[in-house]
């Protein structure tokens, strides 16, 4: 049990390090300069009520583009790893039953609607593309669980994934041409503060991010579920 003792020793050392940080921590009472800039200028420059959304989509928009790219790479690698050695034909599953079928057909559109609501309102209320995309993927997961053999539109997922990715970059280029820089949201009018169609391009860009993230997660789930059954 030398290994366990070493691990414990490492934990004690790390714990001491963490303890000095935690005991020394005093919460700030004033915003620092970056946060102060965001607090004072978001409403005027970006027109979004939710400052976190303004940061994610516009102030640090390039980071989000990189994040979506990382997510795309992950989905592609997961698909690639799991595709190797997949059997061509699978055994048949027992049917999942009338109740489950009808229930999932009824629920899936409602879940999709909830996801779309979350990312369309991302600039007004908590929520946005990533949360809404996860909700979209959970609708795909429901369909996948009730009917594993029905390969619900893999082509559709791929189409949504690539189209929304391209459209995201094109929206960024619109900002470069019509407004201040790449991914600037002011290529559309800012509108009235607090309305649904406001904050310039943020609803458009966040909708594209939501579709893209939802398609990535759904393709990850479907490539995991298409591996063979023991």
């Amino acid at each position: 049990m030398v290994k366990r003792a070493t691990a414990l020793l490492l934990m004690v050392a790390l714990g001491l390090l963490f303890a000095t940080i935690a005991f020394d921590h005093r919460p700030d009472t004033e915003l620092n300069r970056t946060a102060l800039y965001y607090a004072e200028n978001t409403a005027k420059d970006i027109g979004a009520q939710n400052i976190v959304t303004a940061i994610v989509v516009t102030y640090r928009g390039l980071d989000t583009l990189g994040e979506v790219t990382v997510l795309f790479l992950t989905a592609a690698i997961v698909g690639l790893i799991l595709a190797a050695g997949r059997p061509g034909e699978r055994g048949s599953f027992p049917p999942s039953g009338e109740l489950l079928h009808t229930g999932s057909r009824l629920l899936a559109p409602l879940i999709l609607l909830a996801g779309v609501y979350v990312f369309v309102n991302g600039h007004l209320t908590p929520g946005g593309g990533f949360q809404g995309g996860a909700i979209l993927a959970s609708a795909a997961l429901l369909l996948l669980l009730t009917d594993p053999l029905h390969r619900f539109g893999n082509r559709l997922i791929r189409l949504v994934e690539s189209l929304s990715g391209v459209a995201y970059v094109v929206a960024g280029l619109f900002g470069l041409v019509l407004a201040g820089g790449f991914l600037d949201n002011r290529f559309l009018p800012l509108g009235e503060f607090g309305a649904l169609f406001s904050a310039g391009g943020i609803p458009v860009i966040y909708t594209l991010i939501g579709l893209k993230v939802g398609a990535e997660f759904a393709s990850m789930l479907s490539s995991l579920s298409r591996t063979e059954k023991h």
Partner: protein
């Protein structure tokens, strides 16, 4: 910061720590996965109390929902019971 939120956060913190320890020491893999999902779920309530509703939504949808499902997908394929 009122007394109620203080007690709630203490209770949530205790629940998170218990779930985490349970997830690490238990011999049954499905229980470990579910406890890790519970840690994420309690964390999302704590994010809400700390004034971060965006993060709370993300953690609830992604950290505790989709991650748990991914684990169970893989667990169903590899049959984790044989390895303890």
């Amino acid at each position: 910061m009122s007394d109620l939120t203080l007690w709630m956060s203490a209770l949530l913190a205790a629940a998170m720590l218990v779930s985490a320890v349970l997830s690490i020491v238990t011999a049954r893999l499905p229980l470990a996965i579910l406890s890790a999902g519970a840690v994420s779920l309690f964390a999302s309530i704590l994010f809400m109390l700390l004034g971060a509703p965006d993060v709370a939504m993300t953690e609830a949808a992604i950290g505790s929902g989709l991650t748990t499902f991914l684990f169970f997908f893989v667990l169903g394929r590899v049959g984790g019971n044989r390895h303890g």
